[in-house]
Symmetry: none
Subunit: 134 residues, 4 copies
Amino acid sequence: MINFHVDRSSSVPAYAQLVRQVREALRIGTLRPGDQLPTVRSVVTSCTVNPTTVLKAYRELELSGLVEARQGAGTFVSGTLGHADPHVMARLRGSLARWLGQAREAGLEDEDVQALLASVIGENAALRNKEGAA
Amino acid sequence: MINFHVDRSSSVPAYAQLVRQVREALRIGTLRPGDQLPTVRSVVTSCTVNPTTVLKAYRELELSGLVEARQGAGTFVSGTLGHADPHVMARLRGSLARWLGQAREAGLEDEDVQALLASVIGENAALRNKEGAA
Amino acid sequence: MINFHVDRSSSVPAYAQLVRQVREALRIGTLRPGDQLPTVRSVVTSCTVNPTTVLKAYRELELSGLVEARQGAGTFVSGTLGHADPHVMARLRGSLARWLGQAREAGLEDEDVQALLASVIGENAALRNKEGAA
Amino acid sequence: MINFHVDRSSSVPAYAQLVRQVREALRIGTLRPGDQLPTVRSVVTSCTVNPTTVLKAYRELELSGLVEARQGAGTFVSGTLGHADPHVMARLRGSLARWLGQAREAGLEDEDVQALLASVIGENAALRNKEGAA
DNA sequence: GTGGTCTAGACCACG
DNA sequence: GTGGTCTAGACCACG
């Protein structure tokens, strides 16, 4: 079962952090259709947030068709995100982990690594736009 | 000069997006001490945000010692973030770009890629915590 | 609870006056960790300022670690300033009050008294600098 | 001749800092009618401010009748503030300096001392208001 | 022309 | 009800 964590000092709203964590888990396959999400009550105690915050996150996930609340039973994953082959995913994950190891050895911090990926993705998008226009 | 963009549909507040973009540019070396940030008014027109939103972002950067506002003159980078050797940074960027190429070929979307990195970073941190405790 | 007052004719910005009053209250022990600050809305009505002005003050105090805003709950003192023994503080306060009485009898106004203290502090600092250099 | 200093990190505008310093010097007798203020040019270089900032301060002092600009000659003190006997003033200054010595020994910082005076003055004012009303 | 303060007021996040 | 973000826009401080 997914293990939520909420960073109160972040400028991202708490409910959005929960939504993002579910989406990420769906992307990397940690969460699959049929899996149960933590109960609202358990998130309230583990993350010290208000029930309405959790409800807002779950409602947003439900509206995008990713989860389904079953009265009295709990909230369950009902959709998927990303469709890559799990084996390919595992391979890519491995090579990315190796890359991260090198980055760490070179002294890069988490924020450096994230900035680098953001930059490479952005550059990539710019390139494709150009090609698309050409 | 850095080129801001604000995604209004994001749950990340506009001012926080600006802050993050400056921090990322400092991380990857696109922005260096002495460089001028866009004037408040230019960001207002280019990103169609309110002056106070830009000022809030610039003020937060100033309080963390990264930029310096000189009244009547502009806002200038005055600090650094991340201290990796630019050559090493360039090499790592290159290998990450190649990895991204493979990921794209395998059908991964931006959100997949970001989720993967977040997951690998998290796993890595957990490992190091364990080692630290041992 | 601290009672703010804002002097609109002062050249000190309203938000800075609020910040200063909190800092002074922390110094003299009127405000202690755990105490709640007035709600943003109550300051708005009592001092007839704008919510953003109060928020700016509270945010600055929060960034310097002196208070903590809990959304939906209020803003609370979370830090301290000055560490003098309350008893010593009370004694010094008493002798200063007596001194002020004499000053008033001699016809000194508030501004005279403040100027005198500023001057004595400055002289004192100059002396210590000299000693430090010697 | 008065020696200006401008704290750029203060929230008090630069021009207001200059005005305040002249007023304080008049209060404590450091500056007397007939004394010359520094030339605009010299303040510009010593405090690295813009000529217009100095001019604004001098103009404000002139409007309140405290100084007089003589074309081609300079700016001169033409008024007074506070009317205490210099000998009394010197005596009060001495006792305040002794009090400050005790405060310093007790570990109080500048900000503590200023907060204490502000508090004692405020209390005093409250008392007099009550008496006035009675 | 550049940054900074502030108002009046809408609307959101959270408890 | 509490803090937080944001807009539209006036006006000030400074170079």
